[in-house]
């Protein structure tokens, strides 16, 4: 009998498995749309209409950055809470409840997006991940997003309940580090999602239903970015957690500093939200002063990431030296590069270092004229969410799958090949994207070739950049195929009794070195709220004062035509999506059952 997670928490393991499978399903869909758009945009293979490109792009964005990342997050956060507090969830029905709400929500949104491919319904939502008004999606799109976000809110409630119950029994203990990370991240998420909730519930959803005439495009856009920047930390924090609590163990060492890890998460809690205006440096209607304040906050938000870089590398070094590594750099050779969990996370961290640099450029105010909305930005977030997060998630999957299924990983060699292939593929793709952006090639366009002018490459040619992107896309797709082969292969394996124990890294400098005040979540939340009020009150008031709460009369561009007379169409759509949800749930249930039965 092993002491894996599934042995300790069999019921919770099912929830985590369901969350992981939902996440992987979204990853598969997002990957398919990714390669379609890569080949279309670079002109290598086109089988869709360029107008449909934006439906593909919307699906790629929403499925990957919303469903893939957040479903994975709820999986590992549930693992982190139950493992570090050493107690199961308080109420399993509640846990399945928020999972179900998230699944229903994302299915509605997904149906609204995918319906854009067919003329059979007038439902469509090709508004991209950012859904800027006056582009208008079908109400289902917004409704689904709301349900999904509410699901994550309940997930947070679940984890807080566990912590409260644990605290009642352990009044004098420090919050274990993984639980601390979950709680601070969720507090940040509650503050951040207020922006998107306000944008959708007060403005976009009523507007798409025809209840209000018009919206203020600058206001809804600003509310989106209120949420849109911190959401990147919501993707990133689970990856950071893995680098802090799993990577040192896999490296053969201990976490260098528990107190600094807490400082890092506190900094993310208080600084993530009051920075969103840095996505709007080039927006007319927002004063330069507000932009400068947002920049200052953003620049200081570099601090926790820079601290993380040191702590994580030092922890890896500790492992390497315990394994016999020597010298200033020679210790790198003593790291367990053969282990896909390690290699994947280390390569992801390396890519994140590069992404850190392009992020510093993005954070700069006036230099934004150079890169704003160019392909550079796409290169940047394919390094951050597309590699630092996605590759870390895939790498830790190789550790988590045995833990939550009770089965041996199908193939460690394939897994190693997979993470290395992702690294190489993304190198080509994101490098060419960054370069293309500096030439002024825009993001979010189906055919970056114009009649009146051409982009001039400083080195090589635009055709070479396209070739790099296409090559990268193909390698990434191959990598995904290997990943799914491993997931499926593992699911088909028999139950194993010889699994590693469920544990995470110890620390060199433990929580007893951390000032007690770091665990005062109320204090940090209050500071975070105050900073948000400082950073956002005046810009928001100014925007409302200038353009009105509901904005000027607009020529809306409905990317779906909602005929209010034919409510039946809506009913049909709801019915269809419900069926789809049921099917998804059924699939998940089947997977769960398949996982339970040895």
């Amino acid at each position: 009998m092993s002491n894996a997670y599934i042995d300790q928490f069999p019921a919770e393991a099912k929830v985590i498995r369901a969350a992981f499978y939902s996440s992987f399903f979204a990853l598969a869909l997002g990957g398919v749309f990714g390669i379609i758009q890569t080949l279309h945009r670079t002109g290598y293979y086109r089988f869709i209409d360029s107008a449909d490109y934006y439906t593909v792009l919307t699906a790629h964005g929403v499925f990957l950055v919303i469903s893939f990342t957040i479903f994975f997050l709820v999986g590992i956060f549930t693992w982190a809470i139950t493992t570090s507090l050493d107690r199961g969830v308080e109420d399993l029905r509640f846990t399945w409840g928020w999972y179900g709400l998230m699944a229903v929500g994302i299915t509605l949104t997904g149906v609204a997006i995918l319906a854009g491919f067919t003329d059979a319904t007038d439902i469509s939502a090709s508004v991209l991940f950012t859904f800027y008004a006056p582009l208008q999606a079908h109400p289902l799109f917004y409704l689904g997003l709301v349900l999904f976000v509410v699901g994550t809110w309940f997930a947070g409630v679940d984890w807080f309940r566990s912590w409260w119950a644990w605290k009642a029994e352990n009044p004098d203990e420090r919050i274990p580090l993984p639980a601390f990370m979950v709680l601070t991240t969720m507090l940040m998420w509650y503050i951040a999602t207020l922006g998107v909730a306000a944008a959708i519930l007060l403005f976009l959803l009523p507007w798409s239903l025809g209840l209000i005439e018009s919206v203020n495009p600058l206001l809804t856009r600003t509310l989106f970015w209120f949420f849109g920047h911190p959401v990147v930390y919501f993707w990133l924090m689970p990856a950071y957690m893995m680098w802090y609590v799993l990577l040192p163990k896999i490296s053969g060492g201990k976490l260098f500093s528990d107190p600094l890890a807490r400082v890092v998460f506190v900094l993310f809690l208080i600084l993530s939200v009051p920075t969103g205006i840095h996505h709007q440096y080039l927006d007319p209607g927002i004063a330069e002063g507000f932009k400068f304040i947002a920049m200052t906050n953003t620049m200081f938000l570099l601090l926790p990431s820079l601290l993380t870089a040191f702590t994580v590398v030092a922890s890896m070094e500790h492992g390497a030296r315990q394994r016999g590594g020597e010298g200033y750099l020679g210790w790198l050779k003593a790291l367990p590069w053969r282990d896909p969990v390690f290699a994947g996370m280390a390569l992801a961290g390396l890519m994140f270092a590069a992404a850190g640099f392009s992020g510093m450029i993005n954070a700069g105010m006036n230099i934004n004229y150079l890169v704003h909305n160019t392909f550079w930005v796409v290169g940047h977030f394919h390094l951050t969410v597309g590699t630092a997060v996605a590759l870390t998630f895939m790498a830790v999957t190789y550790w988590f799958l045995p833990q939550v299924t009770g089965k041996q990983l199908w193939s460690r060699s394939v897994a190693l090949g997979q993470v290395v292939l992702w690294f190489v593929g993304m190198t080509f793709m994101s490098n060419a994207m960054h370069r293309g952006g500096l030439l002024g090639i825009p993001r979010r366009t189906a055919e970056p070739q114009y009649d009146g002018f051409e982009f001039e490459a400083a080195v090589g040619s635009v055709a070479e950049l396209d070739a790099q992107i296409a090559l990268g896309g193909v390698l990434l797709t191959l990598s995904l195929v290997l990943f799914f082969a491993n997931v499926v292969g593992t699911a088909l394996n028999g139950r194993s009794d010889d699994l590693p124990d469920n544990s995470y890294a110890g620390t060199l400098s433990g929580p007893e070195d951390a000032p007690q005040i770091l665990d005062n979540l109320k204090l940090w939340t209050a500071i975070a709220v105050v900073l948000v009020i400082f950073a956002y009150t005046f810009p928001l008031l100014s925007i409302i004062d200038r353009g009105g709460l509901f904005g000027p009369e607009l020529v809306e561009l409905p990317l779906s035509t909602l005929d209010l007379e034919s409510i039946s169409a809506l009913a049909l759509a709801v019915e269809q999506s419900t069926i789809a949800t049921l099917e998804t749930t059924a699939d998940t249930a089947t997977a769960v059952i398949a996982g339970v039965i040895p």
Partner: protein
């Protein structure tokens, strides 16, 4: 073998960004490489790394300070 197979794979992977950026860096000093030339350099480096990796360890240090192979 001086390096584990996994380590070798990772070293080869790290070669990719170096090669891709090499062209750009060289262009600043007015050395223009074609795609083919870059690929040729890459191939040479790959072969060099393979030779280094599989050369019998005779105690001499490789390009980086060496530790005993595991």
């Amino acid at each position: 073998m001086r390096i584990s197979k996994g380590g070798l794979l990772v070293v080869l992977a790290l070669l990719a960004p170096l090669l891709v950026e090499l062209r750009t860096v060289l262009a600043w000093v007015n050395v223009e490489l074609s795609v083919l030339e870059s690929a040729a350099i890459g191939l040479i480096l790959v072969v060099a790394i393979f030779v280094w990796a599989f050369w019998p360890d005779n105690g001499n240090d490789g390009p980086t300070s060496d530790s005993s192979p595991r």
